[in-house]
């Protein structure tokens, strides 16, 4: 056996160094482990300063001893390569291990061990842990806001129906695949709107809006039999005409009667809230901001200077101001700009404001995609004799949108994360409901539980979305 130089661990004395180093490292981790899990301190005979630093010093020496390159032991080499490349890394690794060990017990005890789950009053929450009873009692409020308890099945049913209808794309056969875009861009939003308007909001079944839908459905059905040559003029004139006829001639007399044909109980938007409102707002803003953003992205790249300037002005304006001021504007300034007897619901105003705001960001993202396409694509499309719209719909946009999937997903993520801001216009989604529940005199002092609960929900939603967008990106990655 050769002479051992403790300042230079080498392969010749591998076993000595390995046993000694592992032992020291093990002791240091064990010390911290016992200290944090069982609050034992077997170095208490030392001065407190030294006792505090001892695990770090021991662990450092231990890691120094086992840092032997090409030892031939697989796991040792892996360890050295990943957490023990040099002194600095060794100290950082040790610190992180210690932090994790130290933070597990308090977190675990707060979340689970000392927490109270049972019961439905504040009295059970006497321990030092979290009071999940609070969440349990307030669950309905956090999910549905002030929506009447007896009517909440309407929200559930609508959401289930919308999720089912939304997942049609996965089950569509090849025959229907070409209609999917049409379905998702036009039909699905319409169905969703009807669901939310008639089902969640409730109220009379027949009123102005219904005539529009009836007119649209009838004219589309007849439209199939109109020769292509006249289709454009047909759709320009007939639906409007039909609407007027329906509204003022056919149903006019019966309107008063029909107006009384109440559907479900009407629930005003002020009572909507909680997580379901978060979903409703995110959903509609997402639907609206995409086409608006696309229009302004094309406008910004347009050859017409006036259209370009207007688009640039729109985009830069919305991107330059914070969302909270936009919502302020929709709350206090926007009603001033409308005719006096014209009233727009505050939820609708909030949705319009957020959609316009996010549309500007979507526009910039799409513009990035449009700019990233090589000129050759435009020139090739033009040389085939395609016009502006044909070129964009069939050649440019499909490629550009593929390029910007991550950017769009980020914008949508930002949108979901921005929804709590609607407290400005007086709507309370989940974070707003938390703040309301927190001030309830019966349940004071549980702010932490509420925020942690909401944070977990948002985190799951946002993380899932970002992972999904990553998958989409991988799926649509085309080599060019």
């Amino acid at each position: 056996m050769s002479k051992i130089n403790f300042l230079k661990p080498d392969k010749a004395n591998l076993n000595t160094f390995l046993y000694l180093g592992s032992f020291l490292f093990f002791i240091s981790v064990l010390d911290v482990f016992l200290n944090s899990f069982f609050s034992l301190n077997f170095t208490s005979f030392l001065p407190s300063f030294l006792s505090f630093l001892l695990p770090l010093i021991l662990g450092f020496i231990g890691l120094y001893f086992i840092r032997i390159e090409f030892s031939g032991i697989k796991y040792l080499d892996l360890l050295n390569k990943h957490i023990n490349t040099n002194n600095f890394n060794a100290i950082l690794s040790l610190l992180i291990i210690f932090i994790i060990l130290k933070s597990i017990p308090p977190i675990l005890s707060w979340f689970v061990i000392d927490a109270s789950f049972a019961g439905d009053s504040k009295d059970v929450c006497s321990g030092s842990g979290a009071c999940w009873t609070y969440i349990k009692v307030w669950m309905r409020r956090f999910m549905y806001g002030m929506y009447p308890n007896a009517e909440q099945w309407r929200i559930n049913l609508s959401f289930i129906a919308l999720v089912l209808l939304g997942s049609v794309g996965y089950f569509a056969t090849d025959k229907f695949k070409k209609y999917l875009t049409l379905y998702y861009v036009v039909i699905y939003p319409l169905i969703a709107f009807l669901f939310i308007f008639f089902f969640i909001s409730g109220g009379p079944v027949f009123f102005d809006f219904s005539y529009g839908i009836i007119a649209a459905i009838i004219s589309i059905m007849i439209g199939f039999f109109i020769p292509n040559k006249y289709k454009f003029y047909y759709f320009l004139i007939v639906p409007l005409l039909l609407y007027i006829v329906l509204k003022y001639f056919i149903f006019y007399e019966e309107m008063i009667e029909l107006g009384k044909l109440d559907g479900l109980n009407w629930v005003e938007t002020g009572a909507w809230g909680g997580l379901s409102l978060t979903f409703i707002i995110s959903f509609f803003c997402l639907i609206f901001c995409f086409p608006i953003g696309m229009a302004f992205a094309l406008g910004r790249r347009s050859n017409f200077p006036l259209i370009r300037y207007i688009s640039v002005g729109f985009i830069e304006f919305w991107r330059g101001v914070p969302l909270i001021t936009v919502l302020f504007m929709s709350a206090v300034m926007f009603p001033m700009f409308l005719p006096e007897d014209f009233f727009i619901d505050k939820l609708v105003r909030a949705i319009i404001a957020i959609s316009l705001f996010e549309a500007a960001y979507v526009a910039e993202v799409i513009r990035g995609g449009l700019q990233a396409l090589p000129r050759g694509q435009y020139e090739a499309a033009k040389s085939l004799g395609m016009g502006y719209w044909k070129m964009h719909i069939f050649v440019i946009l499909p490629q550009a949108l593929k390029l910007v999937i991550p950017g769009i997903a980020n914008t949508f993520l930002a949108l979901v994360k921005d929804t709590p801001l609607i407290f400005v216009v007086g709507l309370l989604e989940i974070v707003g409901m938390l703040n309301l529940a927190k001030t309830n005199p019966e349940w004071l002092g549980f702010a932490m539980e509420g925020y942690v609960f909401a944070a977990i929900i948002f985190w799951i939603i946002c993380y899932a979305m970002s992972k999904y967008s990553y998958n989409l990106e991988q799926k649509y990655k085309t080599d060019r």
């Binding site: 957490i83 914070p322 001021t325 001033m336 994360k417 921005d418 400005v424 702010a447 985190w459 946002c462």
Partner: protein, 383 residues
């Protein structure tokens, strides 16, 4: 000139539509204001505001004008943004570099941090810090001193105040040091280009920035003392710290959440920037005999910064705009003071909201113009 109808019609239609919409809005606004008896005008800015603001950088009370209140709000916004940007940058760069570390634990720890804070709404984080975390702090009388001079209590953070004597001299000495450093930089560059000699610029700069102010202390009679906050009893159960500088809990919660949140985005920018520099660049630089430090300074950083800076500036802008969430926890920023309190008092919705938006707009657009100029300057000159 070759006017085509096809070119003009779409533009004309768009312009007419925009003009019509704006006309419609203005017309309605006029009628509405007439009906409610509100007159349009910015004259209220010079009127007495008669409301107080909790926390202000400049002297302000109810007897000052609305314009002064606007300035108070603006300065508070800038204060929180600047502190937030500094902390977020430091944290973001550290985390971004840690994300590229070959140490598995550090790498995962940084990734965890980024994924965790990025996916929780900022407003929720602000509420969490303000209503949950900072409320768990001790009362002033129970607070323990940190390093003997800082007091972190439920009523805010109390730090010692600097009390300067002959502050002017100190200030001028720093200005002189900065000027001297700039001159030395220019000179050393010239020397290196002409003669190939290298001057240890960094050491000289470090020396200058310490020695010149130190001279001020020794020769110029500059004195610095600290005013440490002292606990004072107001009533039997009410205590407060006097002296020193107090940072209200709103400010702490806001800067903390803003910087923790924005740092995740900056970290991703930094990571993308460093990864964006090709491996070949590093190898080529090493093969022509540059030292690792020189490789980093002369080859990697200039290229990485070109990728890092534009998105990072965007994040700075976002942070500044996000600081308007202060209104939710009653930190007196521009939105709360001006678009909140002042609007309630005057009822001048259009004027006040437009001024607020215009302020943010000016801030963003001036920074993006600066950025575009910078981008053009550092862009690779392609032949």
């Amino acid at each position: 000139m070759n006017f085509k109808l096809k070119d003009i019609v779409p533009q004309l239609v768009t312009v007419i539509a925009v003009v019509l919409i704006f006309g419609f809005f203005t017309y309605n606004a006029q009628i509405n204001m007439e009906n409610r008896g509100i007159d349009f005008g910015y004259g209220f800015l010079s009127q007495e505001s008669s409301f107080d603001v909790q926390f202000s950088l400049i002297e302000y009370d109810g007897s000052h004008s609305y314009f002064r209140a606007y300035l108070v709000g603006l300065l508070n916004t800038i204060l929180v943004s600047v502190i937030g940007i500094i902390i977020a940058t430091i944290l973001g760069v550290i985390v971004g570099v840690a994300r590229l570390s070959n140490n598995y634990l550090i790498n995962k720890f940084a990734a965890f941090y980024v994924e965790f804070f990025r996916n929780i709404p900022l407003l929720l984080q602000i509420f969490f810090w303000y209503f949950a975390a900072l409320r768990a702090l001790p009362l002033p009388q129970d607070a323990e001193a940190i390093f003997g001079v800082f007091f972190l209590t439920i009523k805010g953070l109390y730090v010692p105040a600097f009390v300067w004597q002959n502050f002017n001299i100190f200030f001028y000495s720093i200005v002189a040091a900065v000027l001297a450093i700039i001159i030395i930089h220019i000179h050393s560059k010239k020397v290196q280009e002409n003669q190939g000699k290298q001057i240890p610029v960094f050491l000289i700069s470090l020396g200058l920035i310490f020695i010149l102010p130190l001279l001020g202390f020794v020769l110029g009679g500059v004195r610095l003392s600290f005013e440490v906050p002292v606990l004072k009893q107001l009533a039997t159960t009410s205590f407060i710290y006097e002296g020193g500088v107090s940072l209200p809990p709103e400010l702490i919660a806001l800067t903390l959440s803003l910087s923790l949140y924005t740092a995740t985005f900056i970290a991703e920018c930094v990571r993308a920037g460093i990864q964006g520099v090709g491996k070949g660049q590093k190898e080529a630089a090493a093969s022509i005999g540059l030292t690792p430090n020189q490789v980093l300074k002369l080859v990697i950083m200039p290229q990485a910064l070109r990728i890092i800076i534009p998105p990072t500036t965007n994040q700075y802008l976002n942070l500044t705009k996000n600081s308007s969430l202060a209104a939710a926890i009653a930190y007196p920023d521009l939105v709360l003071v001006f678009a909140g309190t002042a609007l309630m008092q005057t009822g001048k919705a259009i004027e006040i909201v437009s001024i607020t938006m215009f302020t943010y707009l000016t801030l963003s657009i001036s920074i993006s113009i600066l950025m575009n100029w910078y981008n053009k300057k550092i862009a690779i000159q392609e032949k």
